[in-house]
């Protein structure tokens, strides 16, 4: 494998890791607040459909992204209603919302555009367009680092950089702000937060809202960045891979970046079986690469490679009167 091929693969790694990273950070907020959210997939799908439809109608990708965030927030609100207000089963709620999203996106897209459940292809300002980072041209002459900067880091769409910026931002919010301290506390021991006079319910709703926004961005990126328009089931299990990455990352932001980059790398490799063949001199079946993130997650969950300990109050509704 030569350097140019490596750069190509790293470039698609970053592109493919972006929706995973956004969804993974989304899940991080909700799970750190003690609410399991299996519904990342559904929220992304809903956001992708809303983005595709609205960006096509308005011609502006940013209005489309806002619509995507709104769609995702509706699902986050229902999840909050079921799991916080009515103290229902959070896992079942997430599963249910994934099904609703899977069906309703096709229903709406079909009735709006009659194109077999897709939204019409987006072009021009209705898509996220690549941004060339400053000096990419002039620096590309520098050996090794120059092409890396120009090919891999530069030339992505805005949301890729937003996603990368979300990592330090999430770290800062989680470990350096009052909100973050309370958020972590409410996921470990909600009673203590309650005793301190902070509303558990409000904190968890706030966390779910952030989850909704980030899933909205992930979906918007799917529909208007990675691809041009919404298609049926276009998230293809990315919400679950993000969930896997979150466990792999042990619910921490910087680890989340690494986990999603790793899983993005697998996805990029799966697109280029020829490269693996020429590098390793034998063919790894593509399905094996597809399954690798899930297998790795099971291994991590099993505690053979480090121990993944979830937030202690995760999945349990908080009952004040106990």
């Amino acid at each position: 494998m030569d350097y140019a091929t490596l750069l190509q693969i790293l470039d698609s790694t970053l592109r493919l890791a972006t929706p995973l990273l956004l969804a993974c950070l989304a899940g991080l907020y909700s799970e750190r607040s003690g609410v399991f959210d299996i519904g990342l997939e559904g929220k992304m799908l809903m956001a992708a459909m809303c983005t595709g439809a609205v960006a096509y109608m308005t011609g502006s990708v940013w209005i489309g992204a806002l619509a995507g965030i709104a769609g995702s927030l509706v699902f986050a609100a229902v999840h909050g209603l079921a799991s916080i207000t009515f103290r229902g089963n959070q896992l079942i709620s997430g599963v249910a919302l994934n099904f609703v999203a899977s069906g309703i996106t096709v229903l709406v897209a079909q009735s709006m555009f009659q194109q077999g459940g897709r939204t019409p292809p987006l072009e021009g300002a209705a898509r996220f367009n690549p941004i060339t980072l400053p000096f990419a041209e002039s620096l590309s002459a520098i050996p090794v680092i120059g092409p890396f900067y120009a090919e891999v880091l530069s030339g992505h769409t805005a949301l890729v950089y937003v996603a990368l910026l979300m990592v330090p931002l999430t770290w800062w919010a989680l470990y350096r702000t009052r909100f973050g301290l309370r958020l972590r506390a409410v996921g470990e021991n909600p009673a203590s937060v309650d005793t301190a006079g902070v509303s558990v319910v409000r904190l968890r709703y706030a966390a779910l809202a952030i989850t909704g926004i980030l899933c909205g961005l992930a979906g918007a990126y799917m529909a208007a960045g990675l691809q041009a328009g919404f298609g049926k089931e276009m998230t293809a299990g990315r919400g679950y891979i993000a969930l896997a990455a979150l466990i792999f990352a042990k619910w921490r932001p910087w680890y989340a970046l690494m986990a999603t980059l790793l899983f993005g790398f697998f996805q990029a490799l799966a697109l280029r079986p020829d490269v693996i063949q020429s590098t390793l001199n034998f063919a790894i079946p593509v399905p094996a690469l597809d399954a690798l993130p899930y297998i790795l997650t099971v291994v991590v969950l099993a505690g053979f490679v480090g121990r993944a300990i979830p937030p202690r109050a995760g999945g349990e509704p908080y009952v004040k009167e106990r």
């Binding site: 209603l81 079942i92 599963v95 609703v100 229903l107 009735s111 896997a244 297998i295 969950l301």
Partner: protein
């Protein structure tokens, strides 16, 4: 919060949930500019209006009974098995391997063998998540989700690289030998008077009904069933009573996986006659809705499976005859799961308005 009378909890809660799901679906149909009453009429006509329609409804219901029972058994041990889909697919692999292994002379020999194959591989696929839950404390929900994806990757690999006959284009196994063909309802003497046209519902329906009964016997008439239920109610209490959590977790999940795997005698052996990619077609997930709707009781599962069979066949008819996409059934499925499984407190609260609060008896 006051407690509802038992019958209301058992009967009214699922019905109100279904009603709420129905109302929302009707609103969705209205909002895409179609008539809900017209849609319902087409669904009823197509799914239960003729013997032919029933043939399809029962075919789907057979699969859903197996997966619904699978989820039920795990639920009673307070394990949420989302992996029915993967277990059913791998069970399909087991059925296919058995059917292709020998030139079976007659289905009466092939069916028991295929059942063992499907159940064994289904149980094996549930065994690893079960072991990890019991021994390492990995959350069963997450591991079974992961195993669904690993299963689908494994099936694709097996179909593309191992089991696909030379010269065939589509990723599928060879056709099973004719001796493995299960009699469909229109081929069974007596029933062929009702089912005059060829229908996919087959002899597996009766296997599913027997399975419903056996699961009832297991859960409420055996020592093991008692242990499973006791463990599901309270792990510390079960431990104190000398019930081994590892053993119960493993056994409950193995039975659950075996039931999900058994589903494949219906779709793989009975209908397709070969193993295709994504053979379970979401039936494993519908099992969740069926178990919740059926209040985790085999008889409830039977009724709920019929309901979802109706929904599935009716939804397909909608896709054929109207411009309402077939995905409507996924929406209804999701809403039923949401209302019965997650918003059940809300449903109870609504019902509580109609029942006078009764003083709680102090036990």
């Amino acid at each position: 919060m006051e407690r509802l009378p038992r019958w209301a909890d058992l009967v009214l809660v699922p019905l109100i949930s279904l009603l709420l799901a129905g109302i929302i679906s009707a609103l969705v149909i209205l909002s895409i500019g179609q008539s809900p009453s017209e849609a319902l009429k087409i669904m009823v006509d197509g799914a239960v209006g003729s013997a032919y329609g029933w043939g399809y409804t029962l075919y789907y219901a057979t699969s859903f009974m197996f997966t619904g029972l699978a989820v039920t058994v795990a639920f009673h041990a307070s394990l949420f098995n989302i992996g029915g889909e993967g277990q059913a697919q791998i069970g399909g692999l087991g059925v296919a391997l058995v059917c292709l292994a020998l030139p079976w002379p007659h289905w009466t020999l092939a069916l028991p063998a295929a059942m063992i194959g499907g159940a064994l591989l289904g149980a094996a696929w549930a065994a690893i998540p079960a072991y990890l839950q019991a021994k390492r404390g990995s959350h069963i929900v997450i591991t079974t989700i992961m195993f669904n994806y690993i299963a689908s990757a494994l099936i694709i690999y097996m179909l593309v690289s191992v089991l696909k006959p030379v010269g065939q284009m589509d990723p599928a196994t060879a056709n099973f030998p004719p001796g493995t063909a299960l009699p469909t309802l229109n081929e069974i003497p007596g029933l062929n008077l009702i089912f005059t046209k060829g229908v996919p519902a087959n002899i597996s329906l009766f296997v599913a009904l027997i399975a419903c009964f056996l699961v009832w016997v297991l859960l409420w008439r055996t020592r093991l069933g008692y242990e499973i239920r006791a463990f599901g109610r309270s792990e510390p209490a079960a431990k104190y009573a000398g019930i081994s959590p590892v053993r119960v977790t493993m056994i409950a999940m193995l039975i659950s996986g075996a039931l999900a795997g058994l589903m494949s005698i219906n779709n793989v052996m009975g209908e397709a006659g070969r193993l295709l990619q994504n053979s379970a077609e979401g039936a494993g997930f519908i099992g969740i809705a069926v178990a919740l709707m059926g209040r985790n009781h085999p008889f409830g599962v039977f009724l709920a499976a019929l309901l979802f069979g109706f929904l599935y066949q009716g939804g397909a008819e909608l896709g054929l005859w109207t411009s309402i996409p077939i995905e409507l059934r996924t929406v209804v499925q999701g809403l039923v799961i949401l209302f019965t499984g997650a918003l059940d407190q809300m449903v109870r609260m609504i019902l509580g308005l109609f029942f006078r609060p009764r003083p709680l008896k102090v036990a």
